[in-house]
């Protein structure tokens, strides 16, 4: 009986959250189905009168949506991969090894986030120009990695801190080099943290706008956020298309999350329990 009540409360709680999270997204959906380019409506229905999938059709066929998506995938995946690699090794170094300047490194990584980003863009552009990285997807990727790194490094470090050193040392005693110990023992145990790092880096690369705006000028290189923004003009905006585009843009993220979800559940269940 008590268990049943518990289930009821659980479900109610979850549904409260679901409602909160989903309702505004439904509004976006409504905008995307509405004919004509109206952001707001005085009607309340979820499905507007004369609803139409036109916006989706236009986005997928008349706009270079797939081109934008290709670019975004390259950038986001690249950012995720590089980010995960750099953060997993950087965080490890900061977690396991106490060297001179350890504290400074930690603080330094944090400090990179403190300066308002808008003012950093201009010098960044000038620097990238000198390196011939302006108007390339690689340049954008590097900038995104730098944006995502601090959080990823700190997260990996925090996670490594919870993995007993004894496990590492056991591997070392067995004859592994530090590098092998890292790859064979520590990494698999940090799967949840790697997932978070990967997801976060991917999101940084997927949905960021300001840096892409400054760095990319060619039409062929536009990423999804840039593509969506191109639907804006002084006053008239293609709201329906924009809403449709936004929802299409959100889908891969949700799919990615679903794919990675099961890795959020590993960790100690992989059988490395101490004792």
């Amino acid at each position: 009986m008590r268990r049943a009540w518990r289930q009821v409360w659980l479900h109610l709680g979850v549904w409260a959250f679901v409602l909160f999270s989903v309702y505004p997204v439904l509004q976006v959906l409504t905008t995307s189905l509405r004919p004509g380019d109206q952001l707001y409506s005085t009607e309340l229905n979820l499905i507007p009168d004369n609803w139409t999938f036109d916006a989706y059709r236009i986005m997928l066929t008349e706009k270079p949506f797939l081109l934008w998506m290709r670019n975004s995938i390259i950038v986001a995946l690249g950012t995720a991969l590089i980010g995960v690699v750099l953060a997993s090794i950087g965080g490890f170094a900061l977690s396991r090894y106490r060297f001179r300047g350890h504290g400074a490194a930690l603080q330094g990584i944090l400090m990179t986030q403190m300066f308002p980003a808008t003012m950093l863009l201009l010098p960044l552009y000038l620097l990238m120009r000198k390196l011939y990285l302006v108007d390339t997807l690689g340049g954008v990727m590097i900038a995104y990695v730098a944006t995502a790194l601090p959080f990823c490094v700190w997260t990996m470090k925090g996670y490594y801190d919870t993995i007993p050193v004894a496990l590492n040392e056991a591997a070392l005693i067995d004859g592994c080099s530090p590098l092998q110990a890292f790859v064979r023992v520590t990494l698999p145990l940090s799967a949840p943290a790697l997932v978070i790092t990967g997801l976060f880096s991917f999101m940084t690369g997927w949905s960021e706008f300001m840096v892409a705006r400054v760095m990319l000028n060619s039409k062929e290189l536009m990423t999804l956020p840039l593509g969506l923004e191109s639907l804006f003009t002084t006053y008239q905006t293609e709201w329906a298309n924009y809403a449709a585009g936004s929802l299409l843009v959100s889908l891969p993220v949700v799919v990615l999350f679903l794919l990675l979800n099961r890795y959020l559940v590993s960790g100690l269940t992989l059988g490395s329990v101490k004792g």
């Binding site: 995946l77 690249g78 011939y132 108007d135 590098l179 060619s218 008239q236």
Partner: protein
């Protein structure tokens, strides 16, 4: 073994980096690039005319032409950033007040350096952005003016003075079920932006600045204009909180008798099936003056660091896009007024109903100043104007604050 492991780490990283770095390297030597903030229809027109240009100028056949679209705020920042690095597009298209800013920053090449004086003489001198006696842009249309747009399904005639108009507004605001929320409004417009305040400022006899570009906001005229708008809001003929998208939506749904909006929006209303008519904003009954919406031109400007190789082509393109013929076509498709004096004499321009009504309003309007002081003035007006509408400030106090704030910001900008 160790080296192998290390290498396998770096390989995917290098691969992706290499891929990304190499793809997208574009060659800018024979490219004429335009950065713009056009509406979709304007973009279409440009592309169409570009094709015409290429057909008419086979000598530039090996040039590439590119058009990059930006949001207005972005275009400005982007252009500044790129120009700082001596890069950026060949041409920039935007409203004349931005041209003023770019010119002062030293980012633009005077048109006088690129095209002969006879070419420049073609244009209405009022529409040319001139800073320190040099012309920095060539406009291809004049307009951007707020006009009264009436939904003829909801009324018979359009009054020409505010007393009659207010009466009509009250009649056309209908709250049938008495729930405090009218199903139909007399008037909708963007209540937040001072751009909609300025016409009334003129209607009460004032303006935003004097000939020396000093702000003139603390005036009887401003108080009068603010009073008038407060009255409009209090009589509930306009919605409580009305921003641009909401005003647009309500009018499109056929639930407002009037909207005050600019040329970029008119066709959209027609496309939605509304029977609209354009008219000048009604004369202010107290003063007998016509409200003066701001008019501005949209211009092509040239990057000061124009790539030498593209100079001739850019000049030719510039001339073509602002030529009499193209302006006439723009007028036809976009219902904008030409800036070319010859084009204005064209019979179509003189007779088309929309263009005529539009010109009626333009004639009563006033040119928007392109000096950077304007930025400070907008910024000073906005919050205080909003406070008046909220009931937080009295019009007198608001006018005083506007003036103070504008003067302070102008001083700061020059520090």
């Amino acid at each position: 073994m160790k080296i192998l492991l290390r290498a396998s780490f770096l390989l995917p990283v290098l691969l992706i980096a290499g891929l990304a770095v190499s793809c997208g390297r574009v060659d800018h030597s024979r490219r004429v690039i335009l950065w713009e903030q056009m509406d979709p229809k304007e973009q279409e027109e440009y592309d169409r005319h570009l094709a015409g240009f290429r057909a008419a100028h086979p000598e530039f056949a090996d040039f590439q032409f590119e058009r990059v679209h930006y949001r207005p705020e972005d275009l400005q920042t982007q252009f500044q950033t790129a120009a700082l690095a001596y890069g950026g597009p060949s041409l920039v298209y935007g409203p004349a007040d931005k041209v003023g800013v770019y010119a002062i920053m030293g980012l633009l090449m005077p048109i006088d350096d690129l095209l002969p004086a006879e070419e420049i003489a073609r244009f209405d001198p009022q529409a040319l952005p001139i800073i320190n006696d040099k012309v920095y842009g060539l406009p291809d249309n004049v307009g951007n003016h707020l006009t009264l747009v009436a939904n003829m399904a909801l009324m018979d005639s359009i009054p020409d003075n505010t007393d009659d108009w207010l009466r009509q507004l009250r009649e056309t605001t209908i709250d049938a079920d008495g729930d405090g929320k009218p199903e139909q409004y007399g008037l909708v417009f963007n209540l937040l932006e001072p751009f909609w305040l300025v016409p009334w400022l003129g209607g009460f006899g004032g303006w935003v600045m004097d000939e020396e570009f000093r702000p003139t906001l603390d005036t009887e005229a401003m108080v009068g204009a603010l009073d008038f708008l407060k009255e409009l809001k209090d009589s509930r003929v306009v919605p409580l909180e009305c921003d641009y998208p909401l005003a647009d939506t309500i009018f499109m749904e056929g639930r407002a008798a009037y909207i005050i909006n600019g040329p970029w929006s008119w066709q959209g209303y027609r496309d939605a099936g509304l029977d609209i008519r354009l008219a000048p904003i009604p004369r202010v009954s107290e003063t007998g003056k016509w409200p003066t919406p701001m008019t501005s031109a949209k211009c092509f400007s040239v990057n000061a660091y124009l790539n030498e190789e593209t100079r001739a082509c850019t000049a030719a393109l510039l001339e073509f896009m602002t030529s009499t013929r193209v302006q006439l076509e723009l007028a036809r498709s976009l219902s904008v007024q030409p800036s070319d004096l010859e084009a204005r004499k064209d019979p179509y321009i003189m007779q088309d109903a929309t263009l005529r009504a539009s010109r009626d309003q333009i004639d009563k309007g006033r040119l928007m100043p392109i000096v950077p002081e304007m930025r400070a003035i907008w910024d000073a007006m906005r919050p205080n104007y909003q406070s008046v509408l909220n009931g937080e400030l009295s019009p007198d106090e608001a006018a005083r604050r506007m003036q103070q704030r504008a003067e302070t910001m102008i001083k700061r900008m020059r520090e």
